[in-house]
Assembly symmetry: C2
Homo-oligomer: 795 residues x 2
């Protein structure tokens, strides 16, 4: 998955285009800050200049290249990511609206939420269907061409021409996909799971849920899977579902400049994030035919607290998505109305009668799990190094496209060589379960076994490894295949193509798992219990995937649902757990590594255990920019325009007599709210004329959401600068506060459980002493030798 | 399930024995309260006198009988239930301990948590195994006896003797179980699910997690299932798992007076509650062979926020429990090591090949769901009336035992009559799937079909309904059976026996579901798709159970896991959702009804939607009893001894000059902490001598947990009353606070997300204005016509 593309996007273009308001409050600012005790704790780097046009100006190009040169470092925490406001700003406007609403009104809202979830599920299923059919058609056509060609040249000699044809076809597909990703929408690269994980965690990743991203993602994944890369189409479905959710729930598309005037109530971060979790779940559900797994994925990755109704809605979206996919695929497969087929992935069903395991196999499963953990850690380490290399040297879009094409050609070459040099001939089965049996140099009525794994889409290969009868594969074939595919997969993840890592991981694991099973039957040939190497292939697949992504409960359920068999639940869990424990000993999961490389301020579930000695006083950013209840417009404009601070939330304080003394907290107002107020010129002096105009309503804030205009685009005349603004009605009058002595874990718990963006730290007298934001908490993490503190960087 | 027993326990004996500290702070108290603005909002009833002996004194007996006479009312909220302290009291002692702990120390703790979860799973599985084997042996013996007897008298005439034998055997079993429940431990009655739901919600139900309860529960459920009541053994497993968890995690048994000196760190409500969720999950897992369903059950019912590590541990406990049960049952079934059998319940596997459904069946599933919702609502309404009747008139233990015996005899009689009058003879199957085929008046080689459903444990009947081939059952038989069993089940739930409602619900549903399927094939005989009435039996079972208990996600997963088939996931979800929507229109779920009848202050997921106009000022209990940082011992003792207030948490304030002015908050201290301080005489005046003694440590608090002695048992001399106590070190210095203007939903969210017990409401100056506790929030609920306010009652 193309994290190199994501990289560029996250650190370079992402910030400069579109989202232009870096988030964090806390830097010192001479003019308007009320100086408080305790100094600012972090250095401020130069901030890149921001501009307003969507086009990339030459200056921006320079900034971008400079940004790219900053060496990425896991010990840095970027300040450029905004947070989502999961906490509702309960200002007077909001409360008035809620109080006006009747019991029926809330019922209607609830019904609308269900409708949206149904729509999310429907469209996600539809997209999965489109991807599936497109891949099948394209890949089918490609393999048909190459197979014909190979058959032609096997007899006449000159198979190198077939190789070239294959490589060129692959590269062509991948080139198209990579160009779309690298030049049009870099954030669409990779699986998108790290980005969605961040979004659900409360970090706003620029452009991650836009329509353009979705289009490029879908197009890209079709190209990369059809192009024969060692990738899967499942990961991107999760991202696609999330984009669908963000779009549908808002009832409009800013990209298409189309507002359906629907679902306006849901235009805020709180609601949107809930819907995005439903979308991600629907994506998983469509990808793996695993509705429950989807719900668990969303909860495991996203929800900071569990709400029964929300969960039930998420489940509904998942179910609808899986149903839609099944329904349309059943039509495509000419069996309309037969809904029993699973999701995008099709592992085949394990037959209930043969599915069993005994107590004595449990140690074997644990060994497989440990192996998976080791191999997964190796995968992650190698890929981590490669990613750092890419960030440093392969950051131009054209280089990225070329690398992707190179990988595609190499994949074809390696596959070809493996097939060519293998002499593992197997008799053709009666049931023609092989889609493209390659005879090559085998006798008539036989086919090349290596070709079943290489000359095929990875999903089909996994299925063969799970279900083919014992004796189908030669152990040497499997060993060589594992090694080759492992290296290919490491190289592929992080390319500028949109693609997932689930399927390649499963394939690698299935290969060595089956090998393991075969070796077992060689060592102890008289034991009937390991007669079926497919069981070990399944366990190996689970172990390898678990070792790479380190998901736990949700992965167990996804695998159980995808294989349609509950009996293997316990061994799969054992294997996943062992893989996670062993893998975590060496290195983090793949997604977490990539999130770390982006220096995203990601909040884990709990504060580091040994952080009890830290209190809010040490953690907070002090010297907070505060506003008075009634504040001068000029002051507000100056604060908002100050690019060196770029605060996003401002405590509102009661006027104090002494100017040096911090004021008492009486509210909290956001940059976005102030911008809307300035835009509508809600000044005290104009109150009389405003009575003639209509009063500002929540609708005005919702219309501006989520792309609030930058302060520079709002013209404030010199006269207006002298006016006053009354913030009382618009601020959140009851922000959460904590005293300075609160321990870090306690602050963390409050922050995480409520999904906060700003937490005001007050003293005994309720005076504002500091502000805790996401980066203040994400900074502390558990290193090898105890608590470590990350540095903050403005990049 | 015997909610009548629970009733007595919850409202009468529960409070008077053992737990003696009613919880709620907020009543006015002339002497020690600092009077604040805003009046107390609720009347205070007489408080029952409390005494210290475990034995029931004559006075207590009077109190109990008086309490029972109070008519129960759904519009009341009882003040007698305590809350759990899910929020940690982060006082200096705790912080010092945490700071002293190394990185390794925390790792060890984590490992210990895993070990405990493993043990919980193991013991829960073992208990499930004991129950299963005991029931099988006893029921087998009973049916063997009766069968012999029937066969004997079928030929000779005089079957009434067989009926009497059957009824007497049933009554005897039930009597033994009912006596244990009614006389020894009433809280062990019923399924225990409402109690565990309350516990996980944060309500302390007296004696619910004690060893004695577990013993009575296990013994009771064996008796009631063997006694042929319309009950299942699954519900009680959840309660059993929870008790095991509470016991194991504390490393001691207060009942057995045995302290293993293990796991002392976990002796507080926060940790205990986490383990209890694991225990409940392990119980579900063992009962239904559904480890994932168990996790979801715990989360759906209990967790206010989702913690990844906790979830993973819960999952581990579930898996171990299911594994243990499987392992021991495999030994019992003489197939040691074969672990593929499911949990206690055995629905049989649906064969993957025959499992399918088409689009056209979906409307049928929705109809089934709606039927289930209707029938479920009817069940709940009837049972609700019956429960109110029982609370009023059947509250003496001997009456309860007699009622249970009567039900057992009637069940036998009805069953006998149904079998006797049915002439639905079916040929004996080749595979002898019938455990006790009754020939009765059928021809040789045939058996009475009615007997398969009545002359059997309910689980086996469900299995027959799911899997027997088409044509096994006569539609009239099924119709009569449904009606009879429905009424029996309504009557049985709430008896003073320990038993679950899952299996009877499934059985009723499976019967009418199969009937539905048979009718379909009569109406449209040419359609092959509803050839299998077993599918409709499954859907009917899901619909009926969903209509009664109204569980959602977890129930879907439980049913999917229990039937071992993923394909029916979508229809099952559809059915459950329809059943819930239809059922909720009429009446709440069975468990919620019973919780409401107990007037438990249960917190739902969110505040009522239309409650935004309420603020903390209106919601809070004002006139809070506060202490000074350094407080006179006499004052503390008097406040704690005041039975008319019985506060449980006290804000600690800085000394103010004016006596009428409320003090500034600087901490919060709990009754339990004060009791320990008083017991150890931690007085300022003794500080010098305390230096010689050891300093008070967290261990002292943990040793006293959870049964802190009542204040009356602590002797404080007149001299000591004049001493001072310094609370600084022991109070929680950073309690959560909110301003008075905070809206109810916001207060609710904070309270619920963090699992609080006390939330201090402060003014601008951080002065204590009020205290919000559970009952203040639970009071508001959504009625038919909008927001309703429950009355508070001291019973």
């Amino acid at each position: 998955m193309a994290n190199i593309a994501k990289k560029v996007s996250w650190s370079g273009r992402g910030e400069d285009r579109g989202e232009r308001t870096p988030l964090l409050n806390g830097a010192e600012d001479g003019k308007y800050n009320r100086k408080l005790s305790g100094g600012g704790m972090f250095h401020i780097g130069r901030l890149s200049t921001v501009d307003l046009e969507e086009e990339i100006t030459p200056e921006e190009e320079i900034v971008r290249s400079r940004l790219k040169e900053i060496p990425h470092n896991e010990k840095l925490l970027s300040l450029k990511f905004e947070s989502l406001d999961y906490d509702n700003s309960e200002n007077q406007l909001f409360l008035e609206e809620e109080r006006r609403m009747s019991h029926m009104g809330f019922r209607c809202l609830e019904i609308r939420r269900w409708v949206i979830c149904g729509l999310i599920g429907f469209f996600t299923g539809l997209i999965a269907c489109v991807i599936d059919i497109a891949v099948e058609v394209l890949a089918g056509y490609k393999y048909f061409l190459v197979k014909q060609n190979i058959e032609k040249f096997t007899e006449h000699g000159g198979l190198s021409i077939s190789l070239i044809l294959w490589a060129v076809l692959n590269s062509a597909f991948v080139m198209v996909g990579a160009i779309a990703v690298a030049f049009i929408e870099p954030i669409a690269g990779g699986s998108g799971i790290p980005q969605i994980k961040c979004y659900l965690n409360g970090v706003k990743i620029p452009r991650v849920v836009r329509l353009k991203t979705l289009v490029v993602k879908v197009f890209g994944v079709i190209c990369s899977v059809a192009g024969g890369l060692a990738v899967g189409k499942e990961g991107p479905m999760i991202h696609s579902g999330a984009v669908v959710a963000a779009g549908v729930s808002q009832g409009r598309s800013t990209s298409l400049k189309k507002d359906f005037k629907m679902f306006e109530y849901f235009r805020r971060d709180t609601e949107k994030r809930d819907f995005v979790s439903a979308g991600a779940a629907a994506g998983v559900s469509a990808a793996f035919g695993a509705p429950v797994g989807g719900v668990l994925f969303s909860l495991e990755e996203g929800a900071s607290f569990w709400n029964q109704m929300l969960t039930w809605r998420i489940f509904f979206a998942s179910m609808v998505s899986s149903f839609t996919l099944n329904f349309f695929l059943s039509i495509y497969n000419k069996k309309p109305g037969e809904l029993s087929s699973p999701g995008l992935i099709n592992f085949g069903r394990f037959d209930s009668d043969t599915v069993k395991y005994t107590l004595f196999e449990i140690p074997l499963f644990i060994i497989i799990g440990a192996l998976g953990g080791l191999l997964g850690a190796l995968f992650n380490l190698l890929n981590n190094w490669l990613t750092i290399f890419r960030i440093r040297y392969v950051h131009r879009p054209c280089l990225q496209v070329m690398e992707a094409m190179l990988v595609a050609a190499v994949t074809a070459t390696v596959s070809f060589a493996m097939i060519y040099f293998s002499n593992d001939c197997q008799p053709l089965g009666q049931d023609h379960s092989e889609e493209y049996p390659l005879q090559l140099f085998c006798a008539d009525g036989e086919y090349n076994a290596m070709a079943t794994t290489f000359f095929n889409t990875p999903e089909r290969s996994v299925r063969s490894l799970f279900h083919n009868p014992p004796g189908t594969y030669n152990p040497v074939t499997l060993g060589v295949f594992t090694l080759a595919y492992f290296l290919l997969a490491v190289w592929t993840y992080g390319l500028a193509v949109s693609a997932g890592v689930f399927i390649p991981s499963l394939l690698i694991g299935a290969a060595w798992g089956r090998l393991f099973g075969i070796l077992l039957s060689v060592i102890a040939p008289n034991q009937s219990m390991w007669a079926d190497p497919g069981k070990y292939a399944l366990m190996g697949a689970a172990a390898q995937l678990g070792g790479i992504v380190r998901m736990t409960l949700s992965l167990t359920v996804i695998l159980v649902e995808a294989t349609g068999n509950v009996t293997y639940g316990f061994p799969i869990m054992l294997v996943l757990m062992t893989a996670k424990i062993v893998g975590d000993y060496f290195v983090e999961g793949l997604y977490d590594l990539h999130i770390k490389l982006q220096s995203v301020p990601f909040l884990h579930w709990e504060a580091p255990a040994t952080s009890h000695w830290l209190t809010a006083r040490e953690v907070m950013s002090s010297a907070v920019t505060c506003f008075n209840r009634v504040e001068k417009v000029g002051t507000i404009v100056d604060v908002l325009s100050n690019t060196s601070t770029n605060h996003n939330g401002f405590p509102v304080v009661t006027h104090t007599t002494g100017h040096d003394e911090p004021g008492k907290i009486c509210g909290l107002i956001l940059r976005s709210q102030l911008i809307v107020l300035l835009k509508h010129k809600v000044f005290v002096e104009r109150a009389s004329s405003r009575l003639i105009q209509r009063k500002l309503q929540l609708k005005d804030f919702r219309d501006a959401y989520p792309r609030f205009p930058p302060i520079q685009s709002i013209h404030v005349s010199q006269d207006e600068r002298e006016c006053m603004m009354d913030l009382t009605e618009f601020m959140n009058p009851t922000p959460y506060t904590v005293p300075q002595e609160t321990s870090l874990p306690r602050v963390f718990k409050l922050f995480r459980a409520l999904g906060l963006r700003h937490l005001v730290v007050v003293d005994n007298e309720n005076r504002v002493m500091g502000l805790v934001t996401r980066k203040d908490l994400a900074r502390y993490h558990m290193g090898k030798d105890g608590l470590e503190e990350l540095h903050l960087a403005q990049m």
